[in-house]
Symmetry: C2
Subunit: 270 residues, 2 copies
Amino acid sequence: MRIAVVAPSCTLKPEAAERVRAIVAQRADCELLFHPQCFLSHGHFAGPDEARLAALREVMADPSIDAVWFARGGYGSNRIAGAALADLPDPARAKIYMGYSDAGFLLAGLHKTGLDVAWGPMPQDVLRTGGEAAVERALDWFARRDPAALEPALQQPAMAFNLTVLSNLLGTTLEPDFADVDLLIEDVSEQLYRIDRTMFHVAASPNVRRVARIRLGRVSDIIANDPEFALDEAAIVQEWCDRSGIAYGGRADIGHDAANRVVPFGARSC
Amino acid sequence: MRIAVVAPSCTLKPEAAERVRAIVAQRADCELLFHPQCFLSHGHFAGPDEARLAALREVMADPSIDAVWFARGGYGSNRIAGAALADLPDPARAKIYMGYSDAGFLLAGLHKTGLDVAWGPMPQDVLRTGGEAAVERALDWFARRDPAALEPALQQPAMAFNLTVLSNLLGTTLEPDFADVDLLIEDVSEQLYRIDRTMFHVAASPNVRRVARIRLGRVSDIIANDPEFALDEAAIVQEWCDRSGIAYGGRADIGHDAANRVVPFGARSC
């Protein structure tokens, strides 16, 4: 299993790459290639749009690569997602793509285009407390589709998104078909009023209303609301599901943390 | 001109009401009624949804009221906007509604329903530096449609929205028809990466792509981006307009500040 790492959003920290390399060196089931683009820096991004797109297109087209692993989130993959999906070379269809957070823009578009994608931990997660376990979990799933890596209550087909990313891809060319999907959402570093506003937006979508159910992962690092918001995150999500005729399926084991599990999109990747 | 003030979002500060009352007392052309609901508090909101909705419905239905003025922004008008628009009593159609920021959810829905609305300063703006001028400007427009209050380069039909509010109302029942509209946007207290992400979302909308042009008001109190973002707010908006085939019309004289001008929606209100 040859895994290429590219950074369509923000720059990967070199110390994260080193620690992930050390983990992979202890395993016999995978080989990791960090594309030099991971370490570029251009303002907010891991290099200009052109460089991030070229690196992604390069590994997508490489028939020797079995998997593309997005280095980290942040922001920026939406700026290149449309171009990344154009005129796909055949080798792009023979691999699996994994990431989460801002990489959700790419996961959505790649899945919509018929490629195999999964929500799951990324290399930069190694810097989190307990992050080695997250990286091992991702590699276990890459290398041998270890069911222990999966979110434990998945119903197929499933998808997972950062709620704010999901909100921002609705109505764009990246928006996938949500019919009958077990839709897992999570968020990080938002005020609760924003979670409420974003749920208003997402739950209004006729496409989203076709999901089998919505389940809520962790909403972490909530920014203080002054005054305190009237509802917590679970009550917010449940209320907008109720208002919109969407089944609320309770909590899910995903989030911006080391415990984040793998959610393969669709039915084909399990 | 009898103007009723209600607070569909957050609680109005009593000192703002006092200062606006003092301004109105010096004028002979209008009378102001602060609904007691303005001063309710329920978590983030100026009272529970039911209380905010009831106050709004009450003043909408009152034939003695000529104008409804939203007290302030914050967050929450979207939670009651749908219900506010249902089964409208006739007197609701014989008045003008004004506000901005979070009140944009209501402006959009009311305009879509055929009512007269305008973007413009609100009572709580009196607490800003120079805020008395903003309140006088709003009253000049309410009482005598003073053209000096208007954004100076408007082409009809026009609309104005907080960019983040606009993004969150796309795809909801509140979304108005943007065909041939001079669309003014502004934002406050966001990081530039969020402005970029929101423009990606907004500019992807086929409805938004039908505007005559987009003009950019002030983007104030920008939250620091670490590292610095690669583009400023004007370059961001221009780029997404260019990518989406939308004409970019330059800057506009609106924003979360005392200089904020009035933008009547549609052609009928000028």
